[in-house]
Amino acid sequence: MDDGVRRETGGYIGQSVPRREDKNLLLGQANFVADMQLPGMVHAAFARSPLPHAKILSVDVTAARAMEGVVFAASGDDVMAALPPINGMQVVTPQGWRDRVDTDILIPDQPLIPNDKLRYVGEAYALVVADSRYIAEDALELIEPDLEPLQPLADAESALADDAPLLHEHLGRNVAAFLHTKKGAGAAAMENVPHRISRRFVHHRYAAMPMECRGVVADYDTRTDTLTVWSSTQVVHWVRREVATALGMPEERVRCIAPDVGGGFGGKGHVYPEDILVAWLAREIGRPVKWIEDRHEHILNAAHSRDNIYDVEIGFDDDGKILALTSSFLVDSGAYTPVGAGIAGNSIAHMLGPYHIENYETDCRVVLTNRTPNAPYRGAGRPEVGFAMERSVDLVANYLGLDPAEVRFRNMIPPEDMPYEVGLTYRDGVPMVYDSGDYPKALRRALEELGGLEAIRQRQKDALAEGRYIGLGLGCYVEGTGVGPFEGATVKIDPTGKIMVAAGACPQGQGHETIFAQFAADMWQVPIDDVYVTVADTGHVSQGYGTIASRSTVTASGAIKLATDEVHQKVFAIAANMLETAEADLELRDAGVGVKGVPDMHVSYRDIANAAKPGWGHQRPEGVVAGLESTSYYEPPTVTWSYAANASLVEVDVETGQIRIEKYVEVHDAGVLVNPKLADGQVKGGLVQGLGGALLEELAYDDQGQLLTGSLADYLIPTASDVPPLSVVHQETPSPLNAFGVKGLGEGGAIAPPVVIANAVCDALRPFKAELNSTPVRWADVAAFFDGNPANV
């Protein structure tokens, strides 16, 4: 954490400033959506499909509606008559991407409650609102749906079969998106390579699984025709947009607030039907309405993720130099695909990772099935493609008898080639250029953290002689972060002289209020307590985008800077007028503006704010409009590229197949770290989620499309005793693309662990020529190698 090229600001940026968020959370004074209680509030509950694919013949809510304590009930017919579906394209793809990547996209809209058919287990077919949640759930029992089971599309491959029924008939196919892209000669280059390996890699289905499920409270004010929606979301401005659109209201009359949000990790990163339905119910009923998702609902109904199948071919020469790479992959998107082809778009852009590879071609199908909708979860297409790629690199090494580390070094882009033009297009439509970094150094340091490659190999050899199986697993990735299209911020100086910052970001535990205060305190040269930060409230920033895709540090800091720059100009102009001096002689100091070198010549921000006011007695020079406030939008030129090298040592138990992780290392570079302690926490938290995905977590479906893992007793989240010793080392290579040199880091930790663990286990089992090419890595599969009958080759 102490080396690299940290910029010396002399301020708060770069300091592990304690989090201002902690106090309320620790005292039990936080305000999560579930904590809200408004006068007259009623409670919504949803009846959810027990079948993966069914025709709705009828849904009768009469008895439920008549029950004492019930104030409202609606079937899909009622809802469809009142409200349009959610537009399938919540995320608009830029023209530049569609121009440069071959796409054929047909994203289905999502009905808020369907009335024709049900498409996954957990999809709502009716709702009830009652005086309490208990009564609402009682009333759900009185709703008798008449459902005709249809043949389920249990997974992506069966949905592609010639005789498969259509999930969304009007689309005429079960593929939401075809993507194709190519670099160099693409697949044709495979003809001329000395060696080729082809394999199938499967990355299973798991999910964000935040500790707080989703929840929405809405309140409609008749007098002002205004709706306020509190949602446990990562994207308040999207919720505002979709609510306003569906309800036919101006966006200005809808305010969306995400209060304390108990984790998101992507799972709360788009608009869900309940966001709109609860808002509609509040207006329809004329009372505040609350819906809190329970855990069973969350597992069935909140977005799942991963669930990809990759067919990869890798071509290479005798030295292990990768000459060509092709992949064809399927994304099981489930019944809807709320973030479109975003995950697949990430995957095709990230496959080459930190390596220089001349020829690459990939195609993808995003397939509609009767599973829960698939949306980005921490990593969003990168863990999946990283698994395929980094397993392939190990296979090359094994084939040639080279060390996997050596093959990586031979193919890595050297630091002197930065910035590096990749030859592909990012999903923001801009040609990809890795902006800065030292990839080989990260890998060397990761190996050093485990004692160095030579020592590791010696230990492994010695252990093997004792009948013990130790393996080294490596995994490297690059990650486009801080993606556009924009973020918004409002900066103003309050009449009290305090700095008020509002940003469109919507944190779920990252500590944005603290780090945005760090940025602003440095920009204004004030004590950090003079900065007040508001996030996740559309009432404070006119346009915002939200906290997804490892973007908020980069994009919100950019917006805060633009807004600050504008206010700075006015502050200097007014201070110059007040101090009767030239602007060039002024500097920010001591919570105000002073004349350089003249300690007594100073006006405070409070004085300047009052001088800037409209009306009699203002002290603005001619041409300076009243007020010290600016709302600005940062539109990043393109993404910044974070990257990491991961390495882990594991020992595999011969008897049980148990995988004991001795140590897990990530050397991570996210540019300048604004708050090293929080950055470290993000990476480590991500690593443990990645390890959960590698070893424990699985949303398992049977061949009839039924989800088998509907509770936290079945879906295993890592516990404290599952966590191995973690070592995170930060390189800090500033990004040249923004004023602070920052890159994003929210997702990175979760990307590599699945492949690192698979590679480590395969390395440990090299005497058996073991290959584990699918996740999760199960003890039973490992033990099978010792028994001589591997199931998973």
Binding site: R19, G28, A34, G263, G681, I717
Partner: protein, 173 residues
Amino acid sequence: MTDTRKITVTVNGERLTGAAEPRMLLVDFLRDELRRTGTHVGCEHGVCGACTVIIDGDAARSCLMFAVQADGAEISTIEGLATNGEMHPLQKLFSEHHALQCGFCTPGMLMTAMDLVHNSKDHSPEAIRIGMSAALCRCTGYVGIIEAVTEYARQVHGDAAVADRDSGEHSHG
């Protein structure tokens, strides 16, 4: 199901009475009837531990109990840890060690740790890891949590109590 019972509990030293149907979960009674929303609901099936409170001295899942079962009980919740707004040492340690991000699991995590440090005899690293496995955190990877709880156990029981008793082997995997 509308017959309600009068239930009296002592929450953080304060005697409180409310009405609950026999089927009402204790956690819903605390949150919705008594308006003590510091205690959270994460799964309603006893796995995640977000609803952990101390009932008559022992940690318990308030989502796995009915309010009527707690009639007359002494309950400690997160709201009672601080004294006159001054954070409890464990709360301070959580902040210092960045043992919380979103903070949703934190109430259950703190009550689990209070029970572990004050009621358990074993405070070795292994015991703390296993003990803290009673509550799930999705944000932190438990790194800061284990550090904070270990430090708190050290403050309460001394250095020797938290020493690694393992014989050089790594104590977890």
